[in-house]
C-alpha cells in the first residue's frame, strides 16, 4: 500500500480533504473514509455498475479507479441528488413513485447512471434509457420499473 497523502475533492458540494494511501480505490475511500452510502461493491472490475458515481457529471465505476481520479474534481453520489432540505430529488422521487426496486442493491448505480443521461439528454426515449443503463446489472429483474422511473423523472424535471 502506497504512501499516505492528502486527497482533496468536492463531494456532493462539500470540500473533503482525506489523508489516505494514494493508491486507494476510489470506491473504498468514498464508502469508508468519506462515508458515502450510495456506491456499492458488486464486482470490482467495471462489470456491474453498482459502484457508479459521477465525476464532473460523468458516470465512473469507482471500483476500478484510484482515488486520484477524483482529485480536485466534483464527485456526486446519491446524497448529491437530494433537494437542499435533504428530501429526495426529482429522479429519486420518480424511483420511489415507481417503487423501482426489489433488493435495491443496483439502485444507487442505476440512479447515478440515469442522472448522467438526463443531464445530457433531458428527454430520452425509452430505448435511449435502456441503452444508457445497459451496463448496470440488476439481478432482481427490476429493469422495467427503473426505465419507467427515469422516463417519469424526465417528464417531471
Amino acid at each position: 500500500m502506497g504512501e499516505k497523502s492528502v486527497v482533496a475533492f468536492r463531494l456532493n458540494g462539500e470540500d473533503v480533504d482525506l489523508d489516505v494511501p494514494s493508491d486507494s480505490t476510489l470506491l473504498y475511500v468514498l464508502a469508508y473514509d468519506a462515508n458515502a452510502l450510495g456506491p456499492k461493491y458488486g464486482c470490482g472490475k467495471s462489470q456491474c455498475g453498482s459502484c457508479t458515481v459521477l465525476i464532473d457529471g460523468d458516470p465512473v465505476r469507482s471500483c476500478d479507479v484510484r482515488v486520484s481520479a477524483a482529485s480536485g474534481r466534483h464527485v456526486t453520489t446519491l446524497a448529491g441528488l437530494r433537494e437542499t432540505d435533504g428530501t429526495p430529488g426529482p429522479l429519486q422521487r420518480a424511483m420511489i413513485a415507481e417503487q423501482a426496486a426489489q433488493c435495491g442493491f443496483c439502485t444507487s448505480g442505476a440512479i447515478m447512471q440515469a442522472q448522467a443521461l438526463l443531464d445530457r439528454n433531458p428527454n430520452p426515449t425509452e430505448s435511449e434509457v435502456r441503452s444508457a443503463l445497459n451496463e448496470i446489472l440488476c439481478r432482481c429483474g427490476t429493469q422495467n420499473r427503473i426505465v419507467r422511473a427515469v422516463l417519469r423523472a424526465a417528464e417531471e424535471m
Binding site: M1, Y32, G42, L78, Q99, F105, C140, N144
Partner: protein
C-alpha cells in the same frame, strides 16, 4: 367478545413502560386454536414456539408500536407486507410501526425466510397476535370509559365510545406492559373490513434506499471497524500444506493473519489493505489440489450414470383401457445455475468482552445459522447473536451464511473490534452453493386424438437443499478448520410431499389417466449446491410445459386449448385464460421468425399459480433470441399488496428468462470457470422485454405466497415460442445463440 379474555387490572406490572397483562391462557393443543380460516392453520407453529404477545408487538405510551418478527426482508417487500398485516389488525396507521426483524436475541424465532412460504405462515401468526393485542386494549378502554366493549370503535389507536367518549392505546398503556400468551380465542378481522391489506402500500424501505440513507448491511460503519478477507483454497477439497505469512504480516495496515488448518484469512485497517494482503497470502500458499469434477459439458451423462436413489413420487399407472396409439419421448437438461446476487455477501462480526459474538448478516436463516456458528466456534448458543440487516437479493441460500461464519471467525482474532468482511466477486461466483443440474426424461402415450393416456416423468438430480440448519459443516469456512467440520450431511432422500425438492413440481397438475413420476436422486455434490430459486421446480416445469407443447403440436391442437383440455381445476383454467386473452393469443399472427409460447404451473402444486404467454423473435443468422413481450397471469389467493406482488412476479420472470437464455455455471475437472459477469453473463436492460402482469385476486382465500410462482414457465414459454418462430425444439438450457444456430442448421 370472548369471555376468556376478560381481565382485571390486578395483574398489571408497572415497571417497563409498555402494556403487560399478567394473564395467561396456555396455548395448548392445536384444537384450542379453532380458527375458521385455513390461512390461520399455518400460524400455529410460529405461535406455539413464540406464544407471548409482547414477543411480537409492544404498544408504547409515546404513540409508537414495536413490531418484532423473525422473518426478514429479502428485497421482496416482506417486511412491508407484515407491517400492513399488523397495522390492519391493530387498527393503527402503518407509520407508527417500528419494526425489528430477524434478531436472534430480540425477535421471535420464525426459522428461515424462504420458499415463498414466509407470508402464509407468519401472516397468520401476526393476525392472531395483533387481533389479541387490540382486543386486550379495547377491554381496558371499555373498563376505563365505562362502556360496553362491543360499542367501541378504533381509528389509528384512538378508541371512541358510543357517546363520543375517547381514549387512546397510548394513554391506556402508559406505565403498563402486555405480557400474556396468545389464546387463539379472539375473533379476527375479516377481509370485508380490510383497509390496508389488498392496497398497494409503498415499500417502507424504498425511500431510504433511493435517498442514500443507511439501508444495507454494507452501509453500516460501526466505530473502529476493521476489514477482513478470506483466502479461499484453489479448489473445493484443497488442503493447505504450507504458507509463509511473513510478507503479508509486514504489509501496511495488516492487523492479523489467521490460519487454522486450511482456513486462511486476514484482518486489516482498510479494505484495500485487506485485499492486497489476501492476494499476497494467495501467492505464498502451497495447496494440495484435487481434480475430480465431472466438467460442465459432461454433466448430463454424469447425472444419468451415477448410482441413484430411486423413488416414485406419484405412482398411478393406468390399470386398464386401450393401448396408446403413439408414444412420444423427450429429454431435457438444466445446467447448474448461480444465485448471482448483485452485491457479494458480507457480514460484520464483533466479539465483545463477555464472549458474545454479534454478527450483522443478511442471512435468510438467522436462527439456525446462529446455532451453526456457535457450533463452529465451540461456544454455547447464547454466545452468538445474529442481527439481520438487508443485503443484496439472494433468491435462495447464497453465501450470506458463509459470510457470517467467516466474519465471526476473523472477529475472534481482534476482540472488541467489528470486522467487516465482503467477498470478492470471484469468491462469490466460485464458492456459492449453486442450483443443481438436472436431467428430465418424459414419455407420453397418447390416444388417437393426441390426448395423454399415460404420462411418465423421470427426474435426475443432485441435492437442492443444504441450508446450514444448525450444522457447522454447511458453513463454508468450517470445512477447512482443524479439525474440519466435514459431516455435511447430504440427505439420503430427495424430499417428500408437499414441498419435495428435486421433484418439486415434477407432478403435473393436469388430469392424466395414467401418471407416474420417478425421482432418481444422486446424493452427491460435485459442485457445492443448495436452495436456489424454486429448487427442482424450474427444470421440472420447463420440461413438463415444453413437453405439453410438443404433445399439443403433435396432436395438431392449439397449445392453450390442449392445456385446458387436460386441466380440471377452475382457478388454473382462469389463470390460463387470463394470460391467453390479455396476450391476444387467438388473434396472434407470427411469421418473420417471430413466434408465441405459453406455459402454466402452480408452484409446489399448492402455492400461487402463474400462466405466461410471450412472444420471441429469433435471428436465424446468429441464433439470437429476443423476447419481445410477456404477459403473466397469476392467482396468489387473497392479495396483501398488489404492487409488491407484481414486482415479485415480474422480477422472478426476468431472472428466469436470464437463466433460460444465458446462464450456465462452467467448470473443468478442477475448478469453477464462471468467476465474473463476463464468464457468467445475465440479462441486461436492453434484453429485458415489456411485461404485463395480470393479478387474479381471491378475497377470503388463503394468501399463497408468490416469490417463486413463476419459475420454469419462463423457460418453457421461450422454448415453445422459439419452436413457433423457427421450428426448432430447444431442450437443453441455456438457449445460447450458438445452440440455437446449431439447432437451426440441424
Amino acid at each position: 367478545m370472548n369471555k376468556t379474555l376478560s381481565m382485571s387490572r390486578r395483574g398489571f406490572l408497572t415497571k417497563t413502560g409498555y402494556l403487560t397483562i399478567a394473564f395467561s391462557v396456555p396455548l395448548g393443543m392445536s384444537t384450542e386454536l379453532a380458527y375458521a380460516e385455513d390461512a390461520l392453520a399455518d400460524a400455529h407453529g410460529d405461535l406455539r414456539s413464540n406464544p407471548m404477545l409482547d414477543a411480537w408487538i409492544r404498544v408504547n405510551a409515546d404513540g409508537t408500536v414495536n413490531l418484532m418478527i423473525g422473518k426478514v426482508e429479502l428485497g421482496q417487500g416482506i417486511v412491508t407486507a407484515f407491517a400492513q398485516v399488523a397495522a390492519e389488525h391493530l387498527d393503527v396507521n402503518i407509520e407508527r410501526l417500528d419494526i425489528l426483524s430477524g434478531d436472534t436475541f430480540h425477535a421471535p424465532d420464525q426459522g428461515t425466510t424462504a420458499g415463498s412460504n414466509s407470508m402464509p405462515a407468519a401472516y397468520g401468526a401476526l393476525r392472531v397476535v395483533a387481533s389479541e393485542v387490540r382486543a386486550a386494549l379495547l377491554e381496558l378502554a371499555a373498563e376505563e370509559l365505562g362502556v360496553s366493549f362491543d360499542d367501541l370503535t378504533v381509528e389509528d389507536g384512538t378508541i371512541t365510545g358510543p357517546n363520543g367518549e375517547q381514549t387512546t392505546y397510548w394513554d391506556l398503556v402508559d406505565g403498563e406492559t402486555l405480557h400474556r400468551q396468545a389464546t387463539g380465542h379472539v375473533p379476527i378481522k375479516s377481509h370485508e373490513a380490510f383497509r390496508l391489506i389488498g392496497q398497494p402500500v409503498p415499500r417502507l424501505d424504498i425511500p431510504g434506499m433511493m435517498n442514500g440513507e443507511t439501508t444495507f448491511l454494507h452501509d453500516l460503519r460501526p466505530e473502529g471497524m476493521l476489514f477482513g478477507q478470506v483466502v479461499r483454497p484453489p479448489t473445493y477439497k484443497a488442503r493447505l500444506l504450507d504458507v509463509d505469512t511473513a510478507a503479508a504480516e509486514a504489509m501496511p495496515g495488516v492487523m492479523e493473519v489467521i490460519r487454522n488448518g486450511s482456513f486462511l484469512g486476514v484482518v486489516a485497517e482498510r479494505q484495500d489493505q485487506a485485499l492486497n494482503a489476501a492476494n499476497a497470502l494467495r501467492q505464498a500458499a502451497d495447496w494440495e489440489v484435487e481434480s475430480d469434477l465431472p466438467r460442465n459439458e459432461n454433466m448430463k451423462e454424469w447425472l444419468l450414470s451415477q448410482e441413484a436413489i430411486v423413488s416414485k413420487k406419484k405412482d398411478e399407472p393406468r390399470a386398464n383401457g386401450p393401448e396408446p396409439t403413439k408414444v412420444i419421448e423427450a429429454e431435457y437438461y438444466r445446467p447448474y445455475h448461480m444465485h448471482g446476487s448483485l452485491g457479494t455477501s458480507a457480514a460484520i462480526a464483533t466479539l465483545d468482552n463477555e464472549g458474545v459474538t454479534t454478527v450483522q448478516t443478511h442471512s435468510q436463516s438467522v436462527y439456525p445459522t446462529a446455532r451453526a456458528i456457535a457450533g463452529m466456534l465451540g461456544v454455547e448458543d447464547d454466545k452468538v447473536h445474529l442481527q439481520h440487516v438487508q443485503g443484496s437479493g439472494c433468491y435462495g441460500h447464497n453465501m450470506a451464511d458463509d459470510a457470517a461464519a467467516d466474519a465471526a471467525l476473523l472477529a475472534q482474532a481482534v476482540p472488541g473490534r467489528p470486522v467487516f468482511m465482503q467477498y470478492t466477486r470471484e469468491d462469490e461466483h466460485r464458492w456459492e452453493p449453486y442450483g443443481s443440474a438436472m436431467v428430465i426424461k418424459t414419455r407420453a402415450g397418447v390416444d388417437e386424438d393426441g390426448n395423454v393416456l399415460d404420462w411418465d416423468f423421470d427426474v435426475w438430480s443432485t441435492p437442492h437443499g443444504l441450508r446450514p440448519g444448525g450444522n457447522p459443516a454447511r458453513l463454508l469456512p468450517a470445512q477447512y478448520l482443524d479439525p474440519p467440520f466435514d459431516e455435511i450431511g447430504i440427505p439420503q432422500s430427495s424430499g417428500g410431499p408437499p414441498n419435495y425438492n428435486t421433484a418439486r413440481n415434477a407432478i403435473a397438475d393436469y388430469a392424466f389417466p395414467g401418471h407416474v413420476v420417478t425421482d432418481h436422486y444422486i446424493p452427491k455434490a460435485p459442485l457445492r449446491v443448495s436452495s436456489t430459486r424454486g429448487l427442482g421446480a424450474y427444470a421440472n416445469i420447463f420440461a413438463a410445459e415444453s413437453f405439453m407443447d410438443e404433445l399439443a403440436l403433435d396432436a395438431g391442437v392449439d397449445p392453450v386449448e390442449y392445456r385446458l383440455h387436460h386441466m380440471e381445476d377452475q382457478r388454473a383454467r382462469d389463470c390460463i385464460n387470463a394470460a391467453a386473452e390479455t396476450f391476444g393469443w387467438d388473434s396472434y399472427e407470427g411469421g418473420n421468425n417471430r413466434g408465441r409460447g405459453f406455459a402454466y404451473a402452480r408452484y409446489k402444486n399448492y402455492a400461487a399459480m402463474s400462466a405466461v404467454a410471450l412472444e420471441v423473435e429469433v435471428n436465424p443468422r446468429n441464433g439470437r433470441i429476443r423476447v419481445i413481450r410477456v404477459v403473466t397471469a397469476s392467482d396468489a389467493g387473497e392479495i396483501v399488496n398488489p404492487d409488491g406482488l407484481k414486482n415479485q412476479i415480474e422480477g422472478g420472470l426476468i431472472q428466469m428468462l436470464s437463466w433460460t437464455l444465458k446462464e450456465e455455471v462452467r467448470f473443468d475437472d478442477t475448478r469453477v470457470l464462471s468467476d465474473d459477469w463476463a464468464s457468467y453473463p445475465i440479462l441486461t436492460f436492453n434484453e429485458v422485454p415489456q411485461v404485463e402482469n395480470v393479478l387474479i385476486n381471491r378475497p377470503g382465500e388463503p394468501y399463497l405466497g408468490a416469490g417463486e410462482t413463476l419459475v420454469g414457465q419462463a423457460g418453457a414459454a421461450v422454448a415453445n415460442a422459439v419452436y413457433d418462430a423457427v421450428g426448432v425444439r430447444m431442450r437443453d438450457l441455456p438457449f445460447t445463440p450458438s445452440r440455437v444456430q446449431d439447432a437451426i442448421r440441424g
